[in-house]
């Protein structure tokens, strides 16, 4: 807990839509909607789309008329593009401070405590200028003595046009007025349930919440809520998270584009997810001791429902994909039932430990001292060089009926030679 910290929260405005606009400038000023996996619902909107009264979460089929009427541009999520643009933004931000935390694909906390001698608003404007010049992406920046206040400052920066996207709440002469103008539901860590509770008890705005009795907060919102209130009062309790926790479990799963009924198709999907999960394992130099596979139908459909899962403890900790494929196949045979329309299948690897910790075994060569590890290293190297899963297993199938539907995908502008943006000479 510290009194003398300074944090900036930098986040990209309408990130997915903004990424699309960098490479298709004709989209500037247009209402844009980006779809979720399987092109189901809108997950990201440009300001112009928000102004039409459309919200996040609305299913695509519900706005078909408006799309026609207002010439709304709709795109599938181009994660490859967004991921690449995100990593550029983060690398640029790292030039402005050695201490920062990537919070999500388009947000980062920067610790600026060592920079307090600077005019931080000017420094933030420089950051905003550089990010926009170098990537084409507009960002908003909020500064405060705690992460929670930085997030609120960011909200203010976005809300008021005259601030030009940058706002420093630290020691602001009208800080109390500003906090009084923000609803408690906007506070980081206050979800809809807590917001209801707070309103019921007379805490409507952030200033009121900051002044709430600590004992009451601790009782009703646990110590986590207490930390939030302390943060609202300028005491930093939540530090930057810079060491990514080594994974406790690795889950790989996706919903299907169209319902899957055949075991063969489920098997192909499970195989794909095993491969991906094992790749993640090897990236972190870990092995798994247990694998679980689950299947489920679509809970929202008025159809016969079935869901099941099964664990399998692996004889020896491993990251060798064929071991996992074999185990998963066995489980799937056990839990699969004919006659259901499956919506989702998933693979979870647990009992994860670093590969160097594998206890030696008297009778069997372990994953560590085996050519299996070498084979995996070789495959990983080839796939890394040639592109995801260029070299893979026959079991994933070639037709892949279960793949995610993404019919309105824009080109991979920054990662594929054949997709480069065109410039007219």
């Amino acid at each position: 807990m510290r009194q003398d910290e300074l944090f900036a929260l930098v986040d990209c405005n309408n990130f997915y839509a903004a990424c699309e606009r960098v490479f298709a400038p004709e989209l500037e000023g247009k209402p844009i909607g980006i779809l979720s996996n399987n092109d189901g619902i809108i997950v990201a909107l440009s300001d112009e789309l928000k102004q039409l009264g459309i919200n996040r979460g609305v299913p695509l089929f519900k706005i078909k008329d408006q799309i026609r009427k207002y010439d709304i541009r709709i795109f599938s999520s181009n994660y490859t593009l967004y991921g690449d643009m995100s990593s550029r933004v983060m690398k640029i931000l790292s030039r402005f401070t050695p201490d920062f935390e990537i919070y999500s694909i388009d947000e980062a906390f920067l610790r600026l405590s060592e920079f307090r001698h600077l005019d931080l608003t000017a420094y933030a404007r420089k950051i905003k200028h550089v990010v926009h010049q170098w990537t084409g992406l507009p960002v908003s920046i909020g500064i405060g003595p705690t992460k929670t206040l930085a997030k609120l400052a960011n909200h203010v920066a976005k809300r008021r046009k005259d601030l030009a996207g940058v706002f420093d709440l630290t020691d602001h002469p009208r800080k109390d007025n500003i906090l009084a103008s923000i609803d408690v539901k906007r506070v980081w860590g206050v979800g809809p349930q807590y917001a209801k509770l707070l309103h019921r008890n007379g805490f409507h705005n952030v200033l009121q919440l900051a002044g709430a009795p600590r004992k009451w907060i601790k009782k009703k919102m646990t110590v986590v809520g207490l930390r939030t209130v302390l943060e609202l009062n300028g005491t930093s309790c939540i530090d930057l998270e810079q060491d990514l926790d080594p994974k406790k479990e690795i889950v790989s799963s996706k919903s299907f584009g169209q319902p899957v009924t055949e075991l063969k198709d489920l098997q192909e999907a499970v195989n794909s997810y095993c491969i991906r999960a094992a790749q993640k394992l090897r990236e972190e130099k870990q092995v798994t001791g247990q694998i679980m596979v689950y299947v489920t139908t679509n809970r929202f459909k008025n159809e016969p429902q079935y869901a099941n899962y099964e664990f399998y403890k692996l004889p020896l900790p491993t990251a060798y994909t064929p071991d996992l494929l074999q185990a998963a196949a066995r489980i799937l045979k056990n839990i699969y039932r004919r006659g259901y329309k499956y919506k989702k299948v998933g693979v979870m690897l647990s009992e994860i430990s670093p590969e160097v910790n594998i206890p030696p075994d008297l009778f069997t060569p372990t994953y560590l001292d085996d050519r299996r590890r070498v084979i995996m290293a070789c495959m990983d190297a080839i796939n890394h060089k040639m592109g995801m899963n260029k070299l893979t297993y026959a079991g994933v199938g070639t037709v892949q009926n279960w793949k995610m539907k993404r019919e309105m995908l824009t080109p991979h502008y920054t990662t594929r030679w054949q997709d480069l943006p065109i410039v007219k000479a």
């Binding site: 400038p25 004709e26 500037e28 550029r88 690398k91 640029i92 790292s94 030039r95 402005f96 401070t97 050695p98 920062f100 600077l118 005019d119 000017a122 420094y123 404007r125 420089k126 200028h129 010049q133 170098w134 990537t135 084409g136 502008y413 920054t414 030679w417 480069l420 943006p421 065109i422 410039v423 007219k424 000479a425």
Partner: protein, 151 residues
Amino acid sequence: MNKITLRTDDTIDAIYRYERKTRLTRPLIGAEIPAGFPSPAQDYIESSLDLNELLIEHPTATFFVRVQGFSMINAGISPDDILIVDRALEPGHRKIIIAILEGELTVKRLLINDNRWFLTPENPEFSAVEISEDSDFQVWGVVTYAIHQVR
């Protein structure tokens, strides 16, 4: 293009985060060195030539684009060429830039005379365009290299 002045005490220009770079392969002396004969090249071994190092100064601000059209032929830019575009560089007189003009990405040479900006082609069959206050214009990036496949 507004210059932002950063008020520091002049001893600090920029702060860089330490980046753990990916592996740099160095050539190994593969074969065993026969006893008694060290290679005369031993002290002079350098790493292999890397095009990324040569061509890309600001990786986070660098993008590749593909050319369509003939208006920049005399600048050595042909249709289907790939251009390396660096958004971190400032546009200026005689720089070849990618611009957004009327909502479209275009490549032209920028000429600045008396504060008047012109997007000029490098091909007598095309004409220059002056950028005015009401032009729908923005600089997208500065072209540093053109990659041309010879046939």
